[in-house]
């Protein structure tokens, strides 16, 4: 018995480790698949206007996010992608150019929705960055601020006080800075972030970036450009476009 006891212990540890891994991997909630009501999107460029948006944006079930949502691409795009992001999160910063690349490659076949999901308190400036983007959104320049925040993430994340930096961005993209500063602390901005966060939690979002494609969560390992491209192509193929 003593000769086989160590093997029993080793197998028991292996079984516990594998079953814990299996359980914890499955414990991350799977994403729902049915699209809910649609918000009228805030758009970048001339791709969509709220009046045009009669169709569903990239959404899954769960409570609605902030409305109108921040959307790139036409409402009838066959592939709808919804990203929950945090401007201070490094993987989100790395994902930003990938998404821009996909937007350029797939054009009207892809619709991208951005949802605020600041990881507080892990990222000390995440909420300020989300507020800044939302305040810019109230003046129709969400995507401009979104791009600046991600592109300069490494510049501002180590600052003690990010407000002057973000005000500089506001000036750079031509915002009415006084209004921007008022909106930053306003209820509307806070409500939008809260509503997006609520939607994220209802969908089981726990980290960033979390991406849903036509209502199904895209695994994190499929977010590099070469893999995401294949996932989008497969989605287009299955939609017959």
């Amino acid at each position: 018995m003593k000769r086989i006891l160590p093997f029993i212990i080793i197998l028991a540890v292996l079984a516990v480790a594998l079953s814990s891994a299996w359980y914890l991997t499955r414990a991350i909630p799977a994403s729902p698949t049915t699209p809910p009501n649609q918000p009228s999107p805030v758009t970048k460029g001339s791709q969509t206007t709220p009046a045009q948006s009669q169709q569903q944006p990239a959404t899954a079930t769960g409570v609605p996010g902030a409305e109108p949502a921040h959307v790139l691409g036409p409402p009838n795009a066959p592939v709808k992608l919804e990203e929950f992001g945090d401007f201070e999160c490094p993987p989100c910063g790395l994902f930003h150019p990938i998404l821009e690349q996909m937007h350029a490659e797939f054009g009207d076949k892809l619709q991208i929705t951005f949802r605020e999901f600041p990881l507080v308190p892990t990222h000390q400036h995440a909420l300020a960055a989300a507020s800044s983007a939302e305040a810019a959104g109230l003046q129709g320049k969400f995507w401009e601020m979104h791009d600046l925040l991600y592109e300069h993430q490494n510049d501002w994340k180590k600052e003690f006080d990010v407000r002057p930096v973000f005000e500089g961005y506001a000036k750079q993209i031509g915002l009415d800075v006084e209004r921007y500063k008022r909106d930053l602390g306003g209820d509307l901005v806070a409500q939008r972030i809260f509503q997006d966060g609520k939607r994220g939690h209802s969908l089981g979002v726990k980290g960033t970036p979390t991406v849903f494609m036509n209502g199904r969560e895209v695994p994190f390992e499929n977010l590099p450009a070469e893999k995401l491209r294949v996932v989008i192509q497969n989605e287009l193929r299955s939609s017959g476009r």
């Binding site: 003593k2 160590p6 540890v13 891994a21 490094p90 892990t122 980290g207 994190f220 390992e221």
Partner: protein, 139 residues
């Protein structure tokens, strides 16, 4: 001596838990939160966190499981296991030193879970070297 191998086995259990946690977070695409240091996301999303498509944390979990198996067998008197344990732990230590270098000088951010793993590997190295020294001294 057997008790010291049991200590090594227990330490490697901590290593398995640490590496398994990081592997699960990696596979489920979660953002790992640091509570002591601040660079978990930076380190774990860097290009060094994956080797040939396999999360480095999964390789670490397999290595710690091997150490656990060998240390358990050694504690029950399997000499060959005790012999294999030393080079395995030494290899893990050198990998830990390399990863520490990457965190300190390349990524310039520290991930607490990686530091915990490095500390466990260092303790394991001290144990196996002490055992070797003890064995050669008593021969």
């Amino acid at each position: 001596m057997k008790k010291i191998y049991a200590v090594a086995a227990l330490l490697s259990l901590l290593g398995i838990a640490d590496a398994l946690y990081l592997t699960i977070e990696h596979l489920t695409g979660q953002t790992v939160r640091c509570t002591i240091t601040s660079g978990c996301s930076e380190v774990l999303s860097s290009q060094y966190a994956v080797v040939a498509g396999i999360p480095l944390a999964a390789v670490g979990a397999a290595a710690y499981f091997s150490v656990f198996s060998l240390a358990t067998l050694a504690a029950f008197g399997y000499r060959i296991a005790a012999t294999l344990l030393t080079p395995l732990v030494m290899a893990m230590f050198f990998v830990s030193v390399w990863l520490f270098y990457l965190q300190a000088f390349v990524i310039r951010q520290f991930c607490q879970y990686c530091l915990i793993s490095a500390a466990i590997t260092t303790c394991l190295l001290v144990i196996v070297i002490s055992l070797r020294w003890f064995r050669s001294a008593t021969r």
